[in-house]
Amino acid sequence: MHLTDQGLRAYLDDELTAPEQNRVAEHLTACPACRTRREALEARAARVSAQLASLAPRPSEAPRSAQIVLTKLNRLRQTSASGQEKLTMFKSILAPRLRPLWAGLAALALFVSAFSFAPIRAWAGEFLGLFRVKQIAVLPIDTTRLGEFGGDSTLEKQFAQLFSDSMTVTHEPGQPQVVSSVAEASQLAGFTVRAWSESPAPPQITVQDGAAFEFVVNRGRAQALLDESGRSDLQLPASLDGAKIEVNIPAGVSLAYGDCPKPEAEAEGEGSFGRRMINCTILAEIPSPTVNAPPDIDLAQLAEIGLQFTGMSQTQAQAFSQTVDWTSTLVVPIPRNGASYEQVSVDGVTGNLIRRPTDDAPQYALLWVKDGIIYAIGGLSNNAETALAIANSLK
């Protein structure tokens, strides 16, 4: 009986037991047919081996020292073990089920609990949110002051309570739906979804249902809370009382490229979120939310109050307020010390690239508005080249 490929190939690699090696060797001396096969197998293995050898790392491609990488890994593990501290800023934009940054801003009253200084965001969301978005402005804010405020949880609860008391949800958002194609997403979301035309692999597409709510401003309670938080210098205009504000957030779509966690895995292993997202880039698209408010509300004035509340001086607030068209600008607050931003040319318009550099989990978000659709790309990396490449090849 002749030798099998299994026996011959393992023999060549010296992977048989000693008696087996001997048995094969004996057979080979006696069997010319098997010798021929052995030679063919051996020659081929050598050729393939030589070709694969080109892939081996050269000295200049050796990894960093194991000790350095281990230190980094241990730091990640400790961070993870001590609770999720980072990623709060872009978590919304990166979340597989995409709780979008923009919707988060417009619908703050719904989503505030995730943020440590939620009430301020809520204020900003209310006052800066009366618009249809045509552009985005990034606003660095001083988080140390917000931190002081955020520590007062009683006040925080009161703000949250005020919002929930004043708000009526007129359209509950349904569960996010995973769809299989861009066409299906477009149909479901009601606008033309654009996808990365040069993507090496199809994205995981999720359609997030729209939401609508309205709230009626109770000026007295809002002012009382301002007073209580030590900002009685900020006076809400009397005209605000009883104003009915309607917010309508259309359905949005998220496209996850790369190695992204499945939506259902979101809750699992919270601490390792950053690592699980490391090779994942999320593109989010949503038509501008619309906000209807009584015409006599002075948006710039409210914006200035909101800005001062976040820690700006009156002069700063006025100066910033004047640079912004409050009826069409989505203002994105970022921590002054923890993040940086720059304007970049993207998709034929000007966008904002926000970065939050950290050693372990650097993050970026690229935001822009085009033809009434707000786009956001988020990822975990120091370089946002992928985001720019995606943004510039949307079809």
Binding site: Q6, L8, Q51, A56, R64, A66, L70, K72, R275, I278
Partner: protein, 183 residues
């Protein structure tokens, strides 16, 4: 012959709670896991990231029995690396790579030689990309220096079938390689 898996077998199975064991495993396997990943992705930074990811996953959800640890580790690494290989466009990091070479060596590389090497790497990876995943992974693991037993554990196949699978994978590789060279 199966040095790696023997070391693992002797390790404490309660890996996640044992700092020293985790570090021991990391230090023992780091270079080889990196070697597997570098061969698949061909980029130092990416291979390092994926190596980190592999060990992160080990720490996060290690298999319950240490017996399967070696196989588990290389299974995760080859999956990550192979997916990255599949996902990668035919990137041209050549300039970057050449630049790095110049920085790290006194003399610039011989351009003709470098170009040849790049082309060869690109061709080999293209062949791997076209192969059936298991066969491509098998070749990479074998050529990264893993023993049959370790490969079998990583791929979830019987150790006694590795010789057959390897012979078949080499045949397939050669066929596709010749095709790539001709085309």
């Amino acid at each position: 012959m199966t040095v790696a898996s023997n070391k693992l077998r002797s390790a404490n199975s309660a890996i996640t709670s044992d700092e020293r064991t985790f570090e021991t495993i990391f230090l023992e396997h780091y270079a080889q896991v990196y070697g597997v990943l570098f061969r698949l992705v061909g980029d130092r930074a990416e291979a390092e990231d994926l190596t980190l990811e592999t060990f992160w996953r080990l720490w996060e959800r290690a298999p319950h029995t240490a017996d399967h640890l070696g196989g588990w580790l290389y299974r995760v690494a080859t999956h990550l690396g192979y997916n990255a290989l599949r996902a990668a466009k035919r990137r041209t990091n050549y300039e970057v790579e050449a630049g790095r070479y110049v920085l790290e060596h006194d003399s610039p590389p011989d351009p003709a030689h470098e170009a040849e090497r790049r082309d060869e790497r690109a061709r080999v990876r293209e062949v791997l990309r076209r192969m059936r995943p298991r066969e491509a992974q098998l070749l990479i693991l074998r050529h990264s220096g893993l023993a049959y037993k370790e490969i079998a554990a990583a791929l979830g196949v019987a150790p006694g079938s590795i010789g057959t699978l390897l012979a078949r994978a080499e045949k397939e590789f050669e066929k596709l390689y010749a095709y790539a060279e001709g085309g």
